[in-house]
Amino acid sequence: MSVAPNIDWFPLWLSLKVATLATAFVLSLGTFLAYVLSHKNFRGKNLLDALITLPLVLPPTVLGYYLLVLVGRASPLGHLYEATFGQPLVFTWQAAVVAAFLHSAPIYIKAARAVLEGVDYRYEWAAHSLGASEWKTFWRVTLPLAWRGLSSLGTLSFARALGDFGVTIMVAGNIPGRTQTLSVAIYDAVESGNGRLARVLVLIVSVVALSLLWPANFVTRARRSGTAA
């Protein structure tokens, strides 16, 4: 790259990889939780909702601390992970995926719940009365009708997953070439007085985020005018 020679592009690729994986988890697990919250009544629903919202309000350091305790090498979960994958979770890039997931899942789940609640229940009732199972109704009726909203939320989730800093540095650390994501690399560049590197990376993050948000906006607007028609 002539514009920015001697720049290590690893943080960019790592961030894209981490955000992609985190978004995949957000879309699958998050949509499932949003469906449960929007369509089911059960004991402890408000508690589950509060637990899902918690990462939004807790300081990243607190979240990171919980994660270190929960999946650290001394914990049962950490042991299980290590036994399964042959390496500990903390201070690896995989831990950055968990951090990015925690950063973007709460907002996705809250908004996806509203999108799924917005699907006219009569379509779902019609499907049920025709004999379709709940599973089939979800895949063939609810999800296609909610798809536009959910996919633009997915784009926002990806953008948000790119941006985690606090939890990432707590559980994945700042190991150049291994766990150093874009936002961590920016922090590192500023701390070490490398202003030029910081400026380039900041510009990249901003351009990527803008290029994700812009089309996502179009999708939501198309959806609104589609409903009005």
Binding site: A127, H128, S129, L130, V141
Partner: protein, 209 residues
């Protein structure tokens, strides 16, 4: 006994005005068309919802063609999927992202007849499209249909799933006289074809026949 025999008791919690609602109804409907009419808020829709399984009564028993759908004493509450109630909603609730044919295909692949071969299913769909004059419109989405065409498509979708009873919640609300007449003509034909109980909610005593 053929038809519907439903005794329902359901209390709804007090609303904002502190009004508690209590539904206490005994509905019997033989094969043929039965009209439920009365003022708004009398519990007509709730009655249909209880029969279809969308709402659960607090007490009572619902029998349809001698099948027990609900019995609080025996702890029976059949899922809507297993009741074979053809439900027509006010705006028909045709799936907007599917064509007319796909709507019917969804119904036939979900229904009790889903065990039949693909050829039989296709034949059944084609028969119903033909009978309801929808063959030319089969590849259209619901938004590209007129009010009358939507009615026909909704009825065809219900019939392809071979329901035991038809439940219709104000199917002609907001339609002009001409469409209303054609809908009732269609419903009479359906009654003759299906020989099932049809329960209809209406506000219009003129509609009862």
């Amino acid at each position: 006994m053929n038809g519907i025999d439903a005794r329902l008791l359901k209390r709804l919690p007090a609303d904002r005005n502190g009004q508690e609602f209590k539904l206490d109804v005994h509905l019997q409907a033989e094969p043929g068309i039965t009209a439920l009419f009365g003022p708004s808020g009398a519990g007509k829709s709730l009655t249909l919802n209880c029969i279809a399984g969308f709402a659960r009564p607090d007490a009572g028993r619902i029998l349809v063609d001698d099948h027990i759908y609900f019995d609080d004493a025996a702890g029976v509450h059949l899922a809507p999927q297993r009741r074979r109630c053809g439900y027509i909603f006010q705006d028909h609730a045709l799936f907007p992202h599917m064509t007319v044919r796909e709507n019917l295909r969804f119904a036939v692949s979900s229904s009790a007849t889903k065990g039949s071969s693909g050829l039989n299913r296709r034949r059944r769909i084609n028969e119903l499209l033909e009978a309801f004059e929808l063959t030319e419109l089969a590849s259209r989405k619901p938004t590209q249909l007129s009010g009358g065409q939507k009615q026909r498509a909704a009825l065809a979708r219900i019939l392809v799933s071979e329901p035991r009873v038809l439940l219709l919640d104000e199917p002609t609300r907001g339609l002009d006289a001409r469409l209303r007449d054609s809908f009732y003509q269609l419903l009479k034909e359906t009654r003759d074809r299906l020989r099932a109980s049809i329960v209809l909610i209406t506000h219009d005593t003129q509609e009862c026949f």
